[in-house]
């Protein structure tokens, strides 16, 4: 009998810590996803969780056994409620902030917004942490003294094992399968189940009030889960369409809701590495056409109407300027296939190697009509070899050929993982794999109006220089690019016959940017000493 009791107590304590750390992981992930990926906000929520946990444990030690036992089920119900609702609250806060501000979509998140979302996350984490701090003391003291005297070590050990399982399973399995809103509900149901079973069998209290509360919370979550898809769509649409509310009058809300209901759904795909969002908006050129814009982790990549200018400029300007057409080219990233399309217009190019990390993005680029219409099936061209790999790891290989040109087409460095691709170490690897007289070109958000000392411009140019590049050629269209070489050549005219009239008009050479750069080793961005690329890009 005591073995059964012991096993059930062990299972109970494992599930308790599994859920409480699980909520924490979800909240951290939610904060990271809504704020575009920087590390500090979500690390703070983990800190808040630990503080709450410690404080809860501290309070629990001051209580007597009877008091502890009495609090167990009510606290567990609260954990279910707050934890299960946590991501809904977080996304709601983000949406409310989005609707009351006039910031650019797909760009940087303003600091005040970051602080508020982070604060909400910390409050939620701290709250769940505090309530969870009671769990272990309750199990140790208030349930079965006899068993605890002999086996408390096992119980403590499995309690912490629950945390470990949570850290593996919640982000490895739960999040990829159920995404944000449903994951927290699933854990909420689990907490409800624990509270239910406990109130019946363990806590020796069959209190109808508790059972009623559990039923209420479970019912609430059931209702929420049936509306989760719709709620998520509202969240995404508010994020991308920004119907603004200027006052709290009800007709504003009604209009906003109409706008949201009328607009087409945001297609969100969660891949192993990022969120791919396809958003249909009225085209900037004329309101009748619909533009499809691609976002990766809520950061804008390109829109179907303006992508031509971007890719034409990035591809052809360096080739024309340096005066040599490469025969073997590497595209790092560029899984949308649009750069490849432009490169294939040169018959002189024999081989294009494309290294993209995200296989799901490649699938989309090769199968989805909206992509193939744009990239003209470039990825299926026999000259193009597509490889699924981390570009950084690929460049470290010893068995790859030297390239005449390397096109680096990554999203901007919004999170630490992306920032590593803009480091001295990465550019050194790129240089190592460049043939004599070769060039690299990257798209990079240079500061075009007012360059700050120690800002993005200083960082990128110093980093490129320390990697061994000596000649730089910055140019812009609607986005900014940098072409770089290890050996200097004379700059020829950038007028290429392959660039359309529209793109030619948008093109501006920005060698003036180089005059403002402060050349200093302090501004070198290394993976071992990461620098920030300016507010909103860390």
């Amino acid at each position: 009998m005591s073995l059964i009791k012991l096993s059930s107590l062990i299972l109970l304590t494992m599930l308790l810590s599994f859920c409480s750390f699980g909520y924490q992981i979800l909240i951290a992930f939610g904060v990271s996803a809504t704020l575009g990926g920087s590390t500090v906000p979500w690390l703070l929520t983990i800190g808040a969780f630990l503080i709450g946990l410690g404080y809860g444990g501290f309070k629990a030690h001051a209580l007597g056994d009877e008091q502890l036992r009495a609090r167990f089920v009510p606290y567990e119900i609260l954990v279910a409620l707050v934890g299960g609702a946590s991501l809904w609250i977080l996304l709601f806060a983000d949406s409310a902030l989005n609707m009351t501000s006039l910031q650019t979509i797909g760009g940087q998140v303003p600091l005040s917004h970051q602080i508020i979302v982070c604060a909400v996350g910390c409050l939620l984490s701290g709250g769940v942490g505090y309530l969870s701090g009671f769990e272990l003391p309750v199990v140790l003291k208030a349930f079965d003294r006899q068993i605890m005297q002999r086996y408390s070590h096992w119980v403590i050990g499995f309690h912490y094992a629950g945390t470990l399982f949570s850290s593996i399973l919640v982000q490895g399995t739960l999040l990829p399968t159920a995404d944000l809103l449903k994951s927290s509900l699933i854990l909420g149901f689990l907490s409800c189940a624990i509270a239910f079973v406990s109130s019946l069998f363990v806590a020796h209290q069959r209190d109808w009030k508790h059972l009623a509360s559990i039923a209420f919370v479970a019912g609430l979550f059931l209702f929420a889960s049936s509306h989760a898809e719709q709620a998520y769509q509202y969240y995404l649409k508010i994020h991308y369409l920004r119907p603004t509310i200027t006052s709290l009058e009800s007709h504003h809300f009604i209009t906003a809701r109409e706008i949201l209901d009328r607009s087409p759904n945001v297609e969100r795909t969660r891949t192993k590495y990022q969120y791919i969002d396809l958003v249909r908006t009225p085209s900037p050129r004329n309101d009748q056409e619909m533009d499809t814009v691609l976002y990766l982790d809520t950061h804008v990549q390109f829109g179907s109407s303006k992508e031509k200018i971007y890719h034409e400029l990035m591809t052809h300007v360096p080739i024309e300027t340096f005066g040599v057409i490469p025969s073997r080219v590497l595209i790092a990233g560029g899984g949308d296939g649009l750069l490849a399309r432009e490169l294939l217009r040169y018959p002189e190019i024999n081989k294009i190697d494309l290294v993209e990390l995200d296989a799901d993005l490649l699938d989309m680029a090769m199968m989805d009509d909206r992509f193939t219409r744009l990239n003209l099936r470039a990825l299926e061209n026999p000259k193009v070899e597509v490889m699924v790999d981390d570009a950084f790891q690929y460049l470290r290989r010893n068995d790859i050929p030297k390239y005449d040109a390397i096109y680096i087409d990554f999203p901007f460095p919004h999170n630490p993982d992306l920032a590593r691709l803009y480091s001295r170490e990465f550019y050194r690897l790129a240089k190592r794999n460049l043939a004599q007289g070769g060039f690299i070109v990257l798209d990079f958000p240079m500061e075009l109006l007012q360059a700050k000392t120690g800002g993005r411009n200083d960082v990128i140019f110093n980093t490129l220089k320390s990697a061994g590049f000596t000649q730089f050629f910055p140019f812009t269209g609607y986005d900014s690019f940098i072409a770089a070489r290890t050996t200097a050549v004379e700059i020829k005219s950038s007028k290429s016959p392959l660039i359309s009239e529209q793109s030619q008009q948008a093109l501006k050479l920005r060698t003036d940017v180089l005059e403002q750069v402060a050349w200093d080793d302090r501004y070198v961005h290394s993976i071992f000493h990461p620098l920030s690329f300016g507010q909103g890009f860390e």
């Binding site: 750390f21 992981i25 951290a28 992930f29 990271s32 590390t39 500090v40 979500w42 690390l43 703070l44 983990i46 800190g47 630990l50 503080i51 946990l53 410690g54 404080y55 444990g57 501290f58 030690h61 070590h153 403590i156 050990g157 309690h159 912490y160 094992a161 945390t163 470990l164 949570s166 850290s167 593996i168 982000q171 981390d390 470290r396 999170n415 630490p416 993982d417 590593r420 170490e425 050194r428 690897l429 190592r432 290394s526 993976i527 071992f528 000493h529 990461p530 920030s532």
Partner: protein
Amino acid sequence: MKSVRLVTFVVAFCSIVYELLLSEISATLLGGTFYRYILTIGLYIFCLGIGSIYYERIKFKDNARSLFYVELALSLLGLMAPLIPLLVEIGASGMSEHLHKQAVVGSVYLLIIYIGLLSGLELPLLMAIGEKQEEGQSIRILAIDFFATFAGILVFPLVLMKFTGLFNSAIVVGLLNLAIFVFIGRQLNPLPKRSLIIGVALALLLVCANIFGAPLLVDRVFG
């Protein structure tokens, strides 16, 4: 032992920073920052639990002396932490790609677990020392431990990584830990002279290894 509360703060701070350093290294070499950090913190919490259980089973005779040896070990391990994964990365480059990755993963997580287990011994030892000095102090020590962990989580990305970078952060924290174990060691009776001298010497050697060796290793790994 003097200044138990200060010792608790520094010791807990160093432990969490070692673990965060290791998550950063694993993220740098293997990718997936969020995943690595969460997994490391989960492992750390687990090891803390195991450490405290282990403490219950072994009746330590002299708490302060045991703490001294734990801190000595942690200081040395923490200083080795940035170098070992890089060495494994180089040493295992002859193996197949899959095995190579496993070797690096293994070395990082072994370090995380080992440091976590040792850190798990810290808190119970300090609580016992504190309780012996003054009744009810153990709870305050527990609280300080938590605050130090929170401080470490804030300071690591905002201060250490920002101003000193990965290798120098390991040096700073390793030296901090060294100062603490020397502080503890000097209060012990009888004085563990040999351990103190060897410990300090090894630690300083490792500091030099970090200063001079790290750039060499980085160049070798990243071409």
